[in-house]
């Protein structure tokens, strides 16, 4: 990749981080937990966006960032109070800034009117005026580019300053001060720079040099006069001295007719003149003298002064006692701070981590194989080999956990995008909504995080659009006008659980049922529990909005959300209390790479059932099994009946009906379809397995979530418990459908 393109990619990456910092900083300011350092951080974020954008010539972004930055600067300097009204404007400005960044990236477009309006609001904040009305015509001029020195990047001052008629050259006198040298400026370099404009004739005046005894090595004693032959203007000459103009006396005049008769500088000597006054004086007056030689001499003089200055400076610590300890203190501070921040993190290419994870996966498989071989060889469990193998297993698991922890990231990055979504959606549907988040530091695998964003976005949109009521309705119902949507993440039994809850009206079950019936999703006389009714909204083709709204509409319903979640090995469910609100619960595995599973045998095949889905295992007794219809059966488990699923039949391993009492039953629970009893032939053990995608390596198979490689090297399929249950339900509805034969036979 073109290095500049690579940097641009870095810039956009950095922008994402800066925008996130910006938003969280502003939110802190909004809820009052921020301080001046927060304001500084927020300012820096916008400032850095602007700086980078400028480097890439992203002008609209620079322009908006500049206005934003100016307002933040006012806040930083205390001219603008960090009051909620101002912060709210800034939050919206942050959104627009994010839009500008996206647009600069080539993703989406900026609503120019909204951008201009916000820029005007920001300016109004600064000036303390009332913001202009929405209908007022607002034109953002290229002010940012004109007034702040940004002109430098579309024109070069050297070029614009061509004066007519250009004189043949300039006569420059230059007398540096002590301060100029203290800032590490060098006369020699300035002279060298001046020479780039044209040939120079340089003269050194040492009149002010005192007797050697009185010389202060840090003092500036010399004056230079330079005749430069150039067609460049005065500004070009002055630009050479741009950095030092405050620390020297400088005059730039048109050349006099006789270049060498400098009336204001009658006595000219070089440093060497001290030793050889006559010869040097003659040299100085030599009109044809080589400028280069003079320059070298000037450099030599400077070097000499420096050479004197350096040892003196280092030899007199007593004269400047303060700096050293102060510097040491600074270093110490820096050290402490570093160990707290910079030193504790490193940036690693994700590919390397993925490679490591793959390798650890192989290690786990290999270790399992080894264990199996050892078991087959008939070694006693107490043998040293077996004991050593157990240690290896512990270590392998620890390595695996540690590697997984590398990939684990807090869900914060996803949560941070939500406040904006809430603001936008709420404004669009004219509702007042406050978002509260909890557990944003909950960690989960990076790949899971990346794919969390869409489902969460959908659930929040849904909660605002369908859950939270309009302010008037809420007040009438005795609730505060502002609705609350809560986004919460937590770890629960090896999974991450994300909850999106609202305090809205809850699901209108009668209406949901009616719609489902109208759309033919359920039979007209179906009797459904509240839970089943609520879950109807996840059915494909179900949309409660009579008019597809801008918000939740977009052609995607909750069925898509469910599919996305299931693709991650997750579950989604909903609970709702009429009048009090609804809660969507999404649970996902912490990682997509390993899984604790129960290895079972089914019709000669080895399958893996995710351990998290299993509640208990039991041996069905004849009296507990009740046949239901031609092929169905239920199992009495304590006080209730659960559907009995013959796994072999559903997966098509076996056609003939089975004896329900032969084999073992896994009582599983899915978060969507309730409980079921899976009938398998035998349980082989509990094992951690490495998940290999079936879709990526073969194709999607109904009822199967993924595959894994067992210790003996064979491929085993991992059951998708939810899908198995719904396959069974479909079969119950359509008994004629023949079970699909699985393509993978051993």
């Amino acid at each position: 990749m073109d290095p500049l393109e690579a940097i641009k990619a870095t810039f956009f990456q950095e922008c994402d981080e800066l925008l996130a910092d910006l938003e969280s900083g502003l939110l802190e300011l909004e809820n009052g937990s921020g301080d001046i350092e927060t304001v500084n951080a927020v300012f820096r974020a916008v400032h850095s966006v602007k700086g980078g954008a400028g480097a890439f010539g992203l002008e609209p972004l620079v322009r908006f960032a500049h206005v934003f930055e100016t307002t933040l600067d006012a806040m930083r300097s205390g001219a603008l109070a960090t009051e909620p009204a101002a912060v709210k404007v800034m939050l919206r400005a942050a959104d627009v800034l994010a839009d500008h960044v996206s647009a600069a990236r080539g993703q989406g477009v900026v609503d120019e009117a909204a951008s201009a309006r916000l820029a005007a609001e920001l300016k109004a904040l600064c000036s303390g005026e009332a913001p202009p009305g929405a209908d007022e015509e607002i034109v953002i001029v290229d002010e940012a580019l004109d007034d702040d020195g940004f002109g430098d990047f579309d024109f070069t001052p050297v070029l614009v300053e061509i004066e007519e008629p250009a004189p043949a050259g300039w006569r420059v006198t230059f007398k540096p001060s002590r301060a100029m040298y203290a800032k590490a400026n060098e006369t020699a370099l300035l002279l060298r720079e001046l020479e780039r404009l044209g040939p120079c004739k340089t003269t050194l005046h040492t009149d002010d040099l005192p007797d050697f005894d009185a010389v202060d090595p840090e003092e500036a004693y010399f004056t230079w006069s330079i005749e430069v032959q150039t067609d460049q203007g005065e500004a070009a000459v002055r630009e050479v001295f741009e950095f030092v103009e405050d620390d020297c006396v400088i005059t730039v005049d048109p050349p006099v007719a006789d270049a060498m008769s400098l009336p204001d500088l009658p006595t000219l000597e070089t440093l060497e003149d001290e030793a050889q006054p006559r010869a040097a004086a003659a040299e100085t007056l030599d009109v044809g003298m080589d400028v280069q030689a003079l320059l070298q001499r000037a450099q030599a003089a400077v070097a000499e002064v420096n050479a004197v200055a350096a040892p003196v400076a280092s030899a007199k610590p007593a004269a400047t006692p303060a700096p050293a300890p102060a510097a040491a203190a600074l270093h110490a501070d820096a050290g402490d701070a570093k160990s707290a921040a910079a030193g504790t993190t490193i940036r690693v290419d994700l590919e390397r981590v993925d490679r490591l994870i793959d390798l650890v996966g192989e290690l786990v498989i290999n270790q399992a194989m080894l264990a199996q071989r050892v078991a087959e060889s008939g070694l006693a469990r107490s043998s040293t080999v077996s004991v050593g193998l157990e240690d290896l297993e512990h270590l392998t698991r620890e390595i695996q956990d540690s590697v997984m922890a590398i990939r684990a990231q807090p869900v914060k990055s996803v949560f941070q995008r939500m406040p904006r979504l809430v603001r936008e959606v709420a404004a669009m549907v004219e509702k007042q909504v406050r978002l509260t988040t909890e557990g944003e530091n909950t960690e989960v695998d990076k790949t899971v995080i990346e794919r969390l964003s869409d489902p969460i976005t959908h659930m929040i949109r849904n909660a605002i659009d369908h859950g939270v009521e309009k302010p008037a309705t809420r007040i009438a119902a005795g609730k505060p006008a502002e609705g609350t949507v809560k986004l919460c993440a937590l770890h629960r039994s090896g999974r991450i659980v994300i909850e999106v809850s609202d305090d809205g009206a809850g699901i209108n079950r009668e209406r949901v049922k009616q719609i489902a019936m109208d759309k033919g999703l359920i039979a007209a006389d179906a009797t459904l529990t509240d839970e089943e009714t609520d879950n109807l909204i996840f059915l494909p083709g179900f949309s409660t909005a009579t008019v597809v709204s801008d918000i939740s509409g977009r052609g995607v319903g909750m069925d898509v959300v469910r599919r996305q979640v299931q693709a991650l090995g997750g579950r989604i469910s909903i609970t709702s209390v009429p009048g009090k609100g609804s809660t969507f619960t999404l649970s996902l595995p912490l990682t997509l790479a390993v899984l604790d599973g129960m290895v079972v045998g089914v019709s000669g095949h080895t399958l893996v059932t995710p351990l998290t889905a299993i509640i208990e295992t039991l041996q069905p007794k004849p009296q507990e099994v009740r046949l239901l219809g031609p092929s169905g059966a239920v199992l009495a488990v304590r006080d209730s009946y659960v559907p009995l699923v013959d796994v072999a039949a559903v997966l098509g391993y076996r056609q003939e009906p089975t004896d329900w009492t032969k084999g073992v039953v896994l009582l599983v629970e899915s978060e969507v379809g309730g409980r079921a009893a899976l009938l398998v032939d035998a349980i082989q053990g509990q094992r951690q397995v490495v998940i290999k995608s079936l879709e990526a390596n073969y194709q999607r198979v109904e009822g199967i979530a993924a595959a894994t490689i067992l210790g003996d090297g064979r491929v085993a399929l991992i059951l998708d418990v939810d899908a198995l249950i719904s396959v069974r339900r479909k079969d119950a509805r359509r008994p004629a459908a023949s079970p699909q034969r699985l393509p993978l036979a051993s």
Binding site: L4, I7, K183, A342
Partner: protein, 121 residues
Amino acid sequence: MSKTVLTVDDSRTMRDMLMLTLKNAGYRVVQAVDGAHGLEVLAGETADIIITDINMPRLDGFGFIEGVRQDPRHRATPILVLTTESDGEKKTRARNAGATGWIVKPFNPDKLVDAVRRVAA
């Protein structure tokens, strides 16, 4: 031997830009992410030229420059300040802290190298 430039900037983009530009111009580049880190790097590295941002967390550019100037080894090391703000006040403050010159962001590569050359022997 090529000269060493220490760049101090909290923005990764800027650091990368400086790195690219200066490397192409034949300089060796050492990086620091903020003023405090910059001083730390200087404790173990010799830099011929220093380029620093102003707005940085932990220790800003002004503090950093003062810190550098207090170190006898770096009294005469040229320091260029990166600034988007061309207003005189910032430059004056930077110069008062001991900066040698400044580069107005955004810079084009030629301007940057120009400025570095202008202050470096």
